[in-house]
Subunit: 455 residues, 2 copies
Amino acid sequence: MPSRSPAGGNALKTDLYELTMAAGYWQNKVNLTATFELFCHTMPRNRSYLVACGLQQAVDYILNLRFSAADIKYLKRLPVFRHVKPAFFNYLKRFRFTGDVWAVPEGETVFANEPILQVKAPIIEAQVMETYLLSVYHVQTMVASKAMRIVQAAHADGVARGVVDFGTRRAHGPEAGVLAARAAYVAGCIGTSNVHAARQFGVPVFGTMAHSWVEAFPKEEEAFEKYNDVFPQNTTLLIDTYNTLAGAEKLVNMKKKRSINAVRLDSGDLKALSKKVRHILDEAGLKGVKILASGNLNEYKIQELVREGSPIDAFGVGTEMVISRDEPALDLTYKLVETQSKSGKVTYTAKSSEGKETVPGRKQIFRQYTPKGDIARDIIGLFNEKRPSGARTLLEPVILKGRLKKKLPDADHIRKFARERFLQLPLELLIFDEPQALETQYSDKILALKKKVLG
Amino acid sequence: MPSRSPAGGNALKTDLYELTMAAGYWQNKVNLTATFELFCHTMPRNRSYLVACGLQQAVDYILNLRFSAADIKYLKRLPVFRHVKPAFFNYLKRFRFTGDVWAVPEGETVFANEPILQVKAPIIEAQVMETYLLSVYHVQTMVASKAMRIVQAAHADGVARGVVDFGTRRAHGPEAGVLAARAAYVAGCIGTSNVHAARQFGVPVFGTMAHSWVEAFPKEEEAFEKYNDVFPQNTTLLIDTYNTLAGAEKLVNMKKKRSINAVRLDSGDLKALSKKVRHILDEAGLKGVKILASGNLNEYKIQELVREGSPIDAFGVGTEMVISRDEPALDLTYKLVETQSKSGKVTYTAKSSEGKETVPGRKQIFRQYTPKGDIARDIIGLFNEKRPSGARTLLEPVILKGRLKKKLPDADHIRKFARERFLQLPLELLIFDEPQALETQYSDKILALKKKVLG
C-alpha cells in the first residue's frame, strides 16, 4: 500500500550532501551505475539478530520520489548551489528511479554486515536515497528487533500472551508512532493502540481507558458503568486510578458486568497485584475476565512476571519498545560497494577509515541450515557466486528497471513470515543479555576481493 | 508557520482510547470543562533541566485538528464503535478546538512536575489531544535537552565551536529527523544537514560529502578537485575515506584550493588526528582551513576533545543527539487536574496510583531569581494564586477560545531565548553526570489542595 502522504513531499527530507553530490555527479558527468548496500555494521551488544523491517516504506519512497517545482525553487535559492548549472535542476524535475532494488524480505532475521537492501542504479539515483532509506529502515528494524524479544518473553512458558503496542505517545513524533506500531506488529505483537497504523497497515487496534476518564466521574464505579453503557462489548477497565484492589472490588459489584473482558493494571507491584486481583475476580465467579498489565514493561520485566507465575494474560508495552531502550540505535549504514562504467568496467569500492572499514563488491547472503531446520550459518558471498550446497539466498529482486516486481506482502504476511524465521534461530541466540551472535562468514571470493581492493 | 502536511491527516495518529473516551463522554453527556497539564513526572537521572520544545507543532495540531469524511467512515466501521450513536460522528465532523491553551514558551528551562502545556477546554476536545501532544513534545523536548548539553560541551573553554545536527539518518523516520533538527537548532546547534527542516523552519543547512563521493572517483585527489569545481565556495572535504593524514596532504597538493573552507574527520582518534591534520594544514599556510569532526560524538567525547586542546573548530553530531542516547525517554505525561461543570462547580482531580501520584488543580510556575539573575527556585502554585514577590510566571496564554493569541516566535527567536535561559541556570545544574536537580517547591495552597483531594 503506498503511503498516504504524497512522497513528493519527502524529497527534501534528506541530508543536504545527497543533493550537492547529485549536482556534483551531474556536472562532472559521472555516468556510473552504482551499487549501494544498506547493512548494520556492528551488532548492538544486546542483540544477537535483527528483524529486517522497512522495505515497504523504502519502496514507497523509491518509486514515488519526485522533486516538486517548490522543492527545486527552494534548492536553487540556496547559496551552495550558486555555481550549479540550471540544467541540473531540469534533471531533478524529471527525476525518476530507473534502477534495481534487491532486498531481504521484511521479517527475515539478519546479522551484522549482511546487506538488507541493495540499490543498483545510475549513481545520482542511488546516492540521493541514502538518508531516507536509512531512516525508515533504522527505526523499524530497531523496533521490530526489540519487539521480538518482548514477545518472546511474553511466551516464555509456552503460553501465547498477547503484547500490544502502547508506545505512540513516546514515539519520536506522530509518524514514528505509526512506523513503530507497524514494526511491533510485524515482530509478533497482537496489535497497537495507534488508529492510523491500524487503518494504514491493517494492524488490529486496541484501547482501554485513561485515568482521566475515571477521574471525570464523581465515583470510580460510575466511570466503569458509564463506559460499559457505551461499549458493552469487550470492555477493558483501568482499575488502578486510586487503589487497584478497590478498583477490582468495584468491578465485582457492578450491576452489568457481563461485557467486561479484562482489567488493566498500570502501576504498583504487578506480580502481587495481579495475584490479588485474580483472586478477587475468581472468587466472584469472574474467571473469564482477563488481566492486562502495563507500565514501563520490557522483556526483562515480562520474563520475571511470567517466571513468577503472575496471572497476567496480556501486556501493553510502550516506551521501552518504541525507543528500544537498551539498544536505542543501530549502526545502520549505506555504502557504495561497486561501480560500473558505461563501457562495462566494474570497479570495486571500499573505505579503509579506521574502525569503519567496508567490504567491496555486490553481495548475496547464503544461509545454511541444520538437519532440523535451524539456521546453521550465513555466508556473505559475491552476488553472482555459486550458491553453497543446501543454502538459501536471502536477497531477492524487488524493483527491476524502476518497476515493482510484485506486490509486497502485507503486515499479516510479514508477521507470519517473521514468526517462522524466529523459530529457525538457534537457542543460544535467544538469550537476552549479551547473547552470542551467529557466526557469519565471508566467502573466499569476497575475502580475496577485499584483499585486492584494500591491500 | 503551519505544518505543510494537512493536520486533518493527523486525526487518527492517536491512541484508540482517546476516541472511545470521546464517544463515551459524548454519549454520557459529560459536559465538563476540563484542564489537562502536560509535564515530566520525574527527571531523568542524567538531566538537571529540560528545554521546553514542541509548542509550535502542538499549536499547529490543535488549531487544525479535523476529522475527515474518510477518518469518520473508518471509525464507524470499527467494531468497538458499534453501539455509539451516529450523532457522535456528526459531532466529530464539526470538531473544532474551542478552548484555551497556556504554555511555557519554547526554549524555556523547566523541571520535573512543572506544567509545560495546559489545555482547558470541553473535556472531549482536551482529551483527544493527549497522545499527539505528548508525542511532539516528547521527542523535541528530549532532543533539545540533550542538544543543549552537547552545545555546552563544545563551548566549554569559552570558544563557541559550532555543533551541526547530522542525525537525520538515525532519527525515527523522516518526520522525526525534521523535528530533531528543529529541536537541536533551538537548543543552540548552528544548523542541520536536513534540507526540509531548513526550508520549514529557517534553520541554516550544512553539508559536506559522503565517502561514496570519494570512492566514485579513481583517485581521492580527483574527487576533491571535482567537488571543488562545482562548489567553489566554502567547501568541506571529507578526508578520512582511506587515510586521514594522506587525505590532508592531498588537499595541500590541490591546485585550486582557495575555496576549501574545512576538512572533515569522521573516524579514528580525533584528538591525535586533528592535531596532525592541523599541523599539516598550518605548515602549508592553510591556517584558514577549519577542522570539523564527527563520528558517534556526544557531550562527554566533545568535552574531552575540548579539554585536551584538540584543534577542532566544529562538530557534526548525529545519533547520540537525535536519540538522546543516555536518556532516550522522558516521563512525559498529560493529566487531568480539574473539571468545571456547566454550573461552575470546580472539582479537583488526581490519581493516587502507586508511584504515579499526580497533584490536583490548575497550576502556574513562579520562578524566583538570585540577585545576579540566576534561577533561585521554582514554586509550583495554583493558577490564580498570588505571585510570590520577585517571581516571574512561566505559563503564558497561547490560544484563547480557539484562537491563536499572537504569532509564535520563529526558530531563531526561540534559539536566542533558550540561550538566555541557559545562562540563568545555576552552575551546579551544568554537571553532566547525575547532576543535582533544581529544588522545585509546591506552594502551601497546592499542598493543602493535594491533601484535601488525596487525603
